[in-house]
Symmetry: C2
Subunit: 431 residues, 2 copies
Amino acid sequence: MDVDIGNALASVASPGVSRDSLERLDEQVADAHERIEDGMANGEHGYEALNLPDRTDPDEIRRAVEPVADAEALVTVGIGGSALGAATITEALDSDTKTVYLDNVDPAWVTAELERLPLENTAINVVSRSGTTAETLANFLVVREAFEDAGVDWTERTIVTTGESGPLRDLSERHDLPSLKVPDGVPGRFSALSAVGMVAAAVCGHDLEALLEGATAEADTLSGSLFDCPAYAYGATSYALDARGAGMNAMVPYAESLETYSEWFAQLWAESLGKDDLGQTPLRALGVTDQHSQLQLYRAGPRDKVVTFVTPREADDRAIPDTEVDDLAYLGDATLGELLDAEFEATEASLAAAGRPNVRIELERVDEYELGGLLYGMEAACVLAGELYGVNTFEQPAVEWAKKATRGLLGGGEFEEADAVAEKTELRVER
Amino acid sequence: MDVDIGNALASVASPGVSRDSLERLDEQVADAHERIEDGMANGEHGYEALNLPDRTDPDEIRRAVEPVADAEALVTVGIGGSALGAATITEALDSDTKTVYLDNVDPAWVTAELERLPLENTAINVVSRSGTTAETLANFLVVREAFEDAGVDWTERTIVTTGESGPLRDLSERHDLPSLKVPDGVPGRFSALSAVGMVAAAVCGHDLEALLEGATAEADTLSGSLFDCPAYAYGATSYALDARGAGMNAMVPYAESLETYSEWFAQLWAESLGKDDLGQTPLRALGVTDQHSQLQLYRAGPRDKVVTFVTPREADDRAIPDTEVDDLAYLGDATLGELLDAEFEATEASLAAAGRPNVRIELERVDEYELGGLLYGMEAACVLAGELYGVNTFEQPAVEWAKKATRGLLGGGEFEEADAVAEKTELRVER
């Protein structure tokens, strides 16, 4: 990926960061890069994620999915980092294999999604590091039952990705299922380029080597200066803008195929940096659609956000037909792609003209190689930002409370968190 | 809808609003309500939206869609307020009619969506007040061509909703298409309960009367005190929390069917309130999914947001099957619905325990009546908030710049905005 931070400069935008400030920040980037390099070299928890392009074995993943290589559809049962990396890859790329992600436990929705699947020719990809994630295990039990009810042997169609031990590991051994290991030292939100993200990609027939090669090319740019490394340029600029008041970061790809990528980025950014009362809030958006929804706010609301555009330089195109209506004649000379590009450039310029900071990330096109680079680049950007904030990038302690309360409420043990639920303060206004 | 603002009180959360502050704010609410009532009585621009439950004629809408009443699929061509209201309704409710919303101009995506449609049995719903919206008109030209290429007469399958004049009105007259009028004085984002949102609902066979009756029931609660009116309680609390530092409002329905509702709310809130350097930024989220993505940030990040939960009291359910794995046995005693409810209560309590403000909106269930109430209630909440902020709720001037620049870039006239695009400040960091 290439990054253009010109519209984040103080000469253009407020908040903005001056060239001088960036030069000074670059000294911190150099120090942070040393810590990151050390963490990678020592395989430290979290930093190990940046080693995945070297560690992940595409052959092992392809072997595991061989029994379902001809599946017409794939249902992935996972939530958060166990779903979003895989979904980002398979939604971005074309495939004949239909994909469904069961990342919620809404009963009507789960039932409707299962009914849309040709179960006799559907593969199951179940992912949970701990093997105890309530939503994932509940859904997996439901999926198994649905296959059984349809007379389809789920044990012949299921691939498990989980930790070394735990209920899901036990289950995969009991039923002799092909299984892969969630790599040690890699938090879920950083695991797209491991089996966690790539089993689905393999079932869909995507080029796993190209995904990893793109990531490697991005890894090769990691260096001691933000001016030499697109990922660090992005991470450092986002951090600097947050420090100057841009507490939100709107991720706006100008490609429908990258809509799920915004979801993935939102988890990466929120869960890694959102702690100790710090962290920039990710906004999930989409060009051009959100020009007609969020642009008014981005351009004229509080000066509290940076907008990140992601734009592929090349894409398939389609001509806009001529029309008999004079006022629309100009459209007939263009293509949908030209309209999309013009809207992107216009929106970017409209924010700059209003002094609102924005950053452009350019990809050659949306393919495996570029996507691997984008995912890796954003992960590296996030790790750098975590160093600059001084937070514990790779933990997510604040989600434990609700997990315990949920388990307590369902009778899965005694947890004082569950008792707090009953003590809610109410001030009701009713119809 | 019922609203519970207990967890937004200063006794629970920081930022939070004290009972005393709410009492004082209620005096402003009373004044704002008078202005709103006057605006409604005089049919003033924008306020007129709150009269829609009385003004919208379901019979007229049903007559217009009669030629396509048995369509297998419906493609709606519109963007922003011309799509989100309709999409919110049809995505929330079950129907045998498949719906597609062309609200973006990404060429590969438009092509793929069209290929998924059975054109010979697909209805077209094209919506643009001005009749000149570039994205909508370009897509409509593409859709027409696709129908022609498939040998299907699009003029027999198209319903137009547009203003009194303009290219789309001309076109509908030339081809004698059934057409409806975007109501005067109602901005797009407030038009869900007019033909703009309800043509799609009619094609999908939803109960239009129930939608309007639910809205009327909500309208009947509008009164001079936030303590008597759920919509005002919500609008006033959001405003008060923003004033105390909660510059973001995360909309988190615990129902997959309401995912698009969050998109609709995000436009309503952003475009209405985001001006004059003011406005609370909407975050689009979904329970339980985002517990594994955004909750860490919401609970432990900066104290700059309020979380709004939307939860239906009743929904279809599905048992979680028993399992042979001891550690998961507790799940087998529950249903997916009970898990969903427990996760909601646990998440709500986990935010309160961390002193993070949140608001609960309860619906009886997700049906036409409750949905009509929710949409109307949120619109009224937004209008009230606009009064409290003192902004021009019903305009969106900041989006005009980019529209002109786009048109200029495509050769649709001379616009100085287009020239600014070429003058972009660059600071590129390349791979």
